[in-house]
């Protein structure tokens, strides 16, 4: 038996209605020659060899083994080309099955057993037939089928529960939500098969399952929607899953033995692949069991791309890539285990004259861009760099003097020197203290909190100014004890009250791991279980509190005792353990929080350094290598793993030196690339082939507006001239509408996402028309008034000054013409009065207003 599936055949199958399909197919077979399907001519490149994957190869080599009536194997046939490229041909090759009808093979390469025996399976790409063309290429694999007629007892956790997951029955929206749906409850994504078994077999007076007439079981009738089902039809009556459920019921609903093997991990094939735009790739999933055996789980696994704009996957594991170059990860889930397939989709342009690489960041980014065939934009000009780096490091615009000096500096190291100068300034510490204070929850809920929030903010700022090593900084927060007045980081414990939020904040903020899900059930996208969650929470089990010296304050201390926590699920008592680590036996006098930081700051900790470098990468590059920046997990892979590793190693080797990290980031050519796209990288969102512009955040923007208008800031209770980036806590958001509407965070979560960088109508209205801003622009002591009153300099000079202040660059001739044109504008005459020139002050107000509302001003680009 041979099955030939061509691309054109599949296309027709996909678009033609059932009735028409056969007819159209027949016509097409006549018209189309097999090797010209959809223009993907195989002769374009020379195919050297084929490789058949049929599960994990044993010591004796690859073999297609099928054991038992239920077994199946997803074959994957890879074509290797002379160019070194590899391509999935599973659906285009011709399969020749072994003699004797041992097995059946579907169009997608899925093999199921028919009869016991041994033989050989061949996959081949035929020669093009007529005329000279490439030779036929084929590959073979030995086949062994054992027990094709033996239906083994069904195992509930391994064979039945996954069906519910695949069909979506136990998803969070249906029976998987706590409390179930319409009286029938399943554990979320099948993490608790024993409970599911109980609910199916024993609950509801046993009416869900009917061994005497399995097809009349409510479970099956609902699943195929032959009785009304709120969730609709989930299974086809002739599907393999249905037959499996039916057989399990007919067998009297066996659960399986406690000694039965359990899934220990899953593996996806291929793990990674470089694929063309629009290409397809069949995946195969192998589940490894505790007894060393393995099974094909391709049909039972769930698939999800991490970027839905780049790829989609169907239920059988066929990945379809879109026309978007870059990297995409496909998350594969089966029985609580996860694996990832990574596809790299090159654009395929020539990458020849790269800008010079200044450090390892550049080498690794450029390596990636070469691989992708995506040429980077050129290096940005000096004014753009100065504005960009001053905003990113010091949280302010460059002064006119800085811009002028920088323009006249001709030395080769001038950019590095600016970076160093900014890092040495107190403004660096202020700007990053503003960032960290929000993440470290420096929130004022009550008036009495002010004492603590001011002290904590000051402590953060001082720590950054002194460039305290990051591990020490984190230790002083997490292991803080004492009174806020003497040890300000204790303030963190004031907002982060209980051990649950302490562990969740710690994981998300310092490790980039979102553990929240694992509080109530196994993490759906991760390997973390409730065991891991509560073991981690034990680090915070000995945090004691008593009233502090000031009203509204508390002292935090280590309560002597053995650190432990209880797993909410099974009531097991747990000792503290770092994620993925063995539990620690700590003596009662030892503060477990110190042991936690010991584990975190160890040079081989897989999360700590990565999480910070990724967070800082996002700060400067507007997108994390892993994005969101605090969601690092196997199933959300970095866009450039080598770079993330290299940055983390560098950070560890530098002894957690934050300024050194920033020096490296900003000193790289990649950071200094222009944001102007070239003809290839307009749509690039993750490979850093150009600089991605970001809206300036609320505080910096507020300060910048004051700088340009020349108005003084004034915040209640703070000295005049205090800038918004220097604000000690969140309490000013309520009184300053600007900060509020532009999304300054309220320090109520440890997520950077609390800072909203979105646009809104209220923002636009405010910036265009707020009375407050209008007054600043028109202030008597403001810049417009002083420019208008300055008769020593000409208008051109003044416009240059404005452009330097707002954009750190000179206006181009056209812009100058527009501005001068406005300054000399004639106002329409009124009631017979002669025509007048616009009043100077008013004209300058208008120019300043317009500059403030440009995207060039609002964005760091």
């Amino acid at each position: 038996m041979a099955y030939h599936s061509s691309n054109s055949f599949r296309l027709i199958r996909a678009i033609a209605p059932t009735g028409l399909r056969r007819v159209v197919f027949a016509v097409l077979l006549v018209l189309s020659t097999p090797h010209l399907a959809r223009g993907e001519s195989p002769s374009a490149e020379s195919l050297k060899s084929l490789e058949i994957y049929a599960g994990v190869p044993s010591s004796t080599g690859s073999m297609l083994q099928l054991r038992g009536a239920d077994s199946q194997r997803q074959l994957i046939v890879t074509g290797h080309y002379a160019s070194g490229k590899a391509k999935d041909l599973t659906r285009t090759v011709v399969f020749t099955t072994p003699e004797g009808g041992l097995l059946k093979i579907g169009p997608n390469g899925l093999v199921t057993p028919l009869k016991d025996g041994v033989g050989t399976l061949t996959a081949s790409v035929p020669s093009s037939g007529a005329g000279p063309g490439p030779e036929a290429v084929s590959a073979t694999i030995p086949v062994q089928v054992v027990g094709a007629d033996k239906a083994l007892p069904v195992n509930f956790p391994n064979q039945i529960a996954p069906i519910f997951t695949k069909a979506g029955c136990n998803s969070g929206g249906c029976h998987g939500k706590s409390g179930g749906q319409n009286g029938f409850r399943l554990s979320l994504l099948g993490f608790e098969p024993a409970e599911d078994y109980e609910h199916l077999v024993s609950e509801s007076r046993g009416r869900r399952l009917f061994p005497a007439a399995p097809d009349h079981s409510l479970l099956l009738e609902k699943a195929i929607s032959s009785v009304p089902h709120g969730g609709g039809k989930r299974l086809e009556a002739d599907s393999a899953d249905y037959r499996m459920l039916r057989r399990w019921i007919a067998q009297g609903m066996p659960y399986g033995n406690s000694t039965d093997p359990v899934v220990t991990r899953i593996e996806v094939f291929p793990k990674e692949r470089v694929a063309a735009l629009g290409a397809e790739q069949q995946l195969a999933v192998i589940a490894h069991y505790s007894d060393g055996s393995s099974e094909d789980a391709t049909q039972s696994s769930l698939y999800e791309p991490n970027d839905k704009e780049m790829a989609k996957v169907d239920a059988s594991g066929l990945v379809k890539l879109y026309q978007q170059p870059g990297d995409v990860g496909i998350m594969v889930r089966y029985q609580g285990k996860v694996a990832v397939f990574r596809a790299t989709i090159p654009l395929g342009a020539e990458v020849n004259d790269l800008p010079p690489a200044r450090n390892f960041i550049d080498s690794l980014v450029f390596k990636k861009l070469k691989q992708l065939g995506m040429p980077p934009s050129s290096v940005c000009d000096d004014p753009t760099f100065l504005r960009r780096v001053t905003i990113d490091i010091a949280g302010r615009l460059p002064t006119i003097e800085e811009s002028t000096l920088f323009a006249s500096d001709t030395s080769a190291e001038k950019r590095d020197r600016v970076i160093q100068r900014l890092l040495d300034s107190s403004e660096y510490a202020e700007y990053f203290a503003n960032k960290w204070a929000a993440l470290l929850r420096n929130k004022r809920n009550e008036a009495t909190h002010k004492h603590g929030t001011y002290l904590f903010h000051d402590w953060i700022r001082e720590s950054l100014l002194a460039n305290k090593p990051y591990d020490v900084f984190v230790r002083e927060v997490l292991a803080a004890s004492g009174d806020i007045g003497r040890n300000p980081p204790v303030a963190w414990y004031r907002q982060v009250k209980n051990s649950t939020s302490q562990l969740e904040d710690t994981a998300q903020l310092f490790l980039g791991v979102r553990l929240q899900c694992a509080q109530c059930h196994h993490h759906p996208y991760e390997r973390w279980s409730q065991q891991d969650y509560y073991s981690f929470s034990a680090f915070f089990s000995q945090v004691g509190r008593k009233p502090g010296s000031q009203p509204g304050e508390e002292m935090v201390f280590h309560k002597r005792g053995v650190a432990k926590a209880t797993n909410k699920k099974n009531k097991e008592e747990l000792r503290p353990a770092g994620l993925g680590n063995a539990p620690l036996e700590l003596p009662p006098e030892q503060d477990p929080r110190n042991s936690l930081v010991d584990w975190m700051a160890a040079s081989d900790n897989p999360f700590f350094a990565k999480s910070l470098v990724n967070r800082y990468w996002k700060h400067f590059f507007n997108r994390g290598l892993v994005d969101p920046e605090d969601d690092i997990r196997e199933t959300n892979p970095p866009s450039n793993p080598e770079l993330l590793d290299a940055l983390a190693s560098h950070f560890v080797a530098s002894k957690y030196d934050l300024k050194e990290l920033i020096r490296k980031l900003c000193g790289s050519t990649v950071y200094q690339l222009s944001s102007e796209p070239n003809e290839f990288n307009t749509n690039d969102k993750q490979n850093f082939s150009r600089y991605y512009p970001k809206r300036i955040n609320a505080e910096v923007l507020y300060d910048a507006i004051h700088l340009i208008t020349g108005a003084e800031t004034k915040f209640d209770g703070l000295p005049e001239g205090t800038r918004a980036v220097q604000l000690p806590d969140n309490s000013f958001n309520a009184s300053v509408y600007f900060l509020n509407v532009f999304g300054r965070p309220d320090s109520s979560s440890s997520c950077e996402c609390e800072r909203s960088q979105d646009a809104s109508l209220a923002q636009s209205l405010h910036l265009l028309n707020a009375k407050d801003l209008q007054e600043k622009i028109a202030a008597d002591k403001g810049r417009a008034a002083s420019l208008a009153g300055d008769f020593k300099r000409d208008d051109e000079t003044k416009i240059r000054e404005l452009y330097l202040a707002a954009f750190s660059r000179q206006p181009d001739p056209l812009e100058m013409k527009v501005a001068i044109g406005h300054l000399e504008k004639k106002l329409p005459s009124k009631e017979g009065k002669p025509e007048e020139t616009i009043p100077k002050r008013r004209a300058y107000e208008d120019v300043i207003w317009a500059l403030l509302n440009t995207k060039e001003f609002l964005f760091n680009h």
Partner: protein, 443 residues
């Protein structure tokens, strides 16, 4: 990321084409108005006026003096007011609500809201959740969710408009966009941004001058930003200019543009701020109707001050007639304009009031049971849901949760609460309600 469960599975049903569209449009991260509109116009989806008007009664009105009179209770509990029969035989309301009584066939009264908390705040009424144990970022208001899930219907009308002023008692303004962020906050023509809506110190001509200057200066190309943010900003700027010159939104906010007879029907409200809460502007009910007609998806109004710790009857005699006129006018008007299937109306406060009259002739807060009025929205009306015991102190049957009412409102907007989730700040997908389903009695 907006998630609609069921999508990824093999058999997907119950998801409308519209929802499907939104997944594509919003999956890009954040509100991208331009893309959304493009997608909407591209798909040829008919615009609907499906929307919700929420009337919040700050302070918590006395349920037993409005919609649930307890004539079997002793005098010191049942109080001074008499019930009157209504359009629907068997349903009675307070004698001070004759206009509402005349249209009970178009209304549903819920007499057994059972899960209020003892907190003077709009939080429950706006979010359906309690303030305790909030997820990272905090619970979003209903309107913010609608804004996030459905987006703007008309580019010049914000999807979520809050007509309430910033009330003096801060917790009356407690609800916000939560983990959905400021871009999904209600647009507040009477709130902090109020003064931004009218030109400040510049004339319209000068604004036009400035605008042309800005156009010349604004040379940074949108293409620099592939996230859609610059495009969004440009589009909001255009909207804002539109509002500042002459616009649909301002038009909608100006009830004077309405037919005289309609204005008369809504009556003259009381602009004085009552207590530490809100004025009683029945005109705002009309504005709310104009807004949803123009394309808003959720409009909230705060009405009066109902925290009757003293002088319960005197206060009720002053306040109820205005409520009666406003609510009845709104419901009748929605019917007259054929919007009764499209626009849902909910009227309620954060809790009920104590059966016992206190020493100051007032009633104290009573979270154990309260009442709500629902109208229009294509729901089944002319009914009472639930009841209280003889004293009006506890639900007697069919206790109703806030979440059920919200599930019903989402249902009316075509949002399936069993499928849609939105991620909080920890990335956890959060359902819009805590497992409650739309109320069978209503849908």
């Amino acid at each position: 990321m907006l998630t609609i469960h069921g999508q990824r599975h093999r058999f997907c049903d119950g998801v409308s084409r519209r929802n499907f569209l939104k997944v594509g449009a919003l999956g890009l991260g954040g509100l991208n108005l331009a893309q959304l509109l493009q997608a909407e116009s591209g798909s040829g989806i008919r615009r609907s006026h499906k929307s919700v008007i929420m009337i919040y009664l700050p302070g918590g009105p006395p349920h037993q003096d409005t919609f649930d009179l307890k004539m079997d209770a002793p005098l010191e509990i049942r109080g001074e007011f008499k019930p009157i029969p209504t359009r629907v035989p068997g349903i009675q309301v307070c004698e001070l609500l004759p206009r509402i009584a005349a249209i009970t066939d178009k209304l549903t009264l819920i007499r057994s809201i059972s899960d209020a908390v003892d907190d003077h705040s709009d939080f429950m009424c706006m979010t359906g959740r309690t303030k305790r144990n909030q997820p990272p970022g905090g619970w979003p208001a209903f309107g913010s969710v609608v804004s996030r899930v459905l987006g703007a219907q008309d580019p010049s009308i914000p999807p979520f408009v809050g007509l309430e002023p910033t009330m003096q008692h801060r917790p009356y303004n407690a609800s916000g966009p939560g983990y959905l962020g400021v871009s999904n906050r209600s647009f507040r023509p009477a709130g902090d941004g109020k003064s931004d809506m009218v030109l400040n110190g510049v004339t319209a001509e000068r604004l036009a001058d400035r605008r042309s200057l800005l156009t010349s200066f604004d040379t940074l190309r949108r293409e620099l930003d592939s996230s859609g943010l610059m495009e969004g900003l440009d589009s909001f700027n255009q909207q804002a200019f539109g509002m500042l010159t002459s616009s649909k939104l301002l038009e909608a906010l100006d009830f004077q543009k309405e037919d005289k007879r309609v204005i008369e029907r809504f009556g003259k409200g009381d602009p004085r701020v009552h207590g530490d809460a809100a004025p009683m502007l029945t005109e705002q009910f009309l504005v709310a109707r104009r807004l949803v007609e123009a394309g808003a998806r959720c409009v909230t109004v705060a009405f009066g001050f109902w925290d009757y710790h003293g002088n319960n009857y005197q206060n009720a005699r002053a306040d109820l007639p205005l409520l009666d006129q406003g609510v009845s006018a709104l419901v009748e008007d929605l019917h007259d304009r054929g919007l009764d299937k499209e626009v849902s109306v909910i009227v309620w406060g954060e809790f009920g009031r104590s059966p016992k009259i206190n020493k100051d002739a007032g009633r104290d807060p009573w979270p154990r049971v309260s009442a709500a009025l629902l109208a229009c929205g294509g729901m089944k009306h002319g009914q009472v849901i639930g009841s209280t015991d003889r004293m009006g102190g506890e639900p007697a049957d069919r206790p109703v949760q806030f979440g059920e009412v919200f599930a019903t409102l989402y249902h009316n907007l075509g949002i399936d609460v069993s499928k849609v989730t939105l991620p909080d700040h920890s990335g956890r997908p959060q359902f819009l309600v805590d497992g409650q389903l739309p109320m069978k009695e209503l849908i």
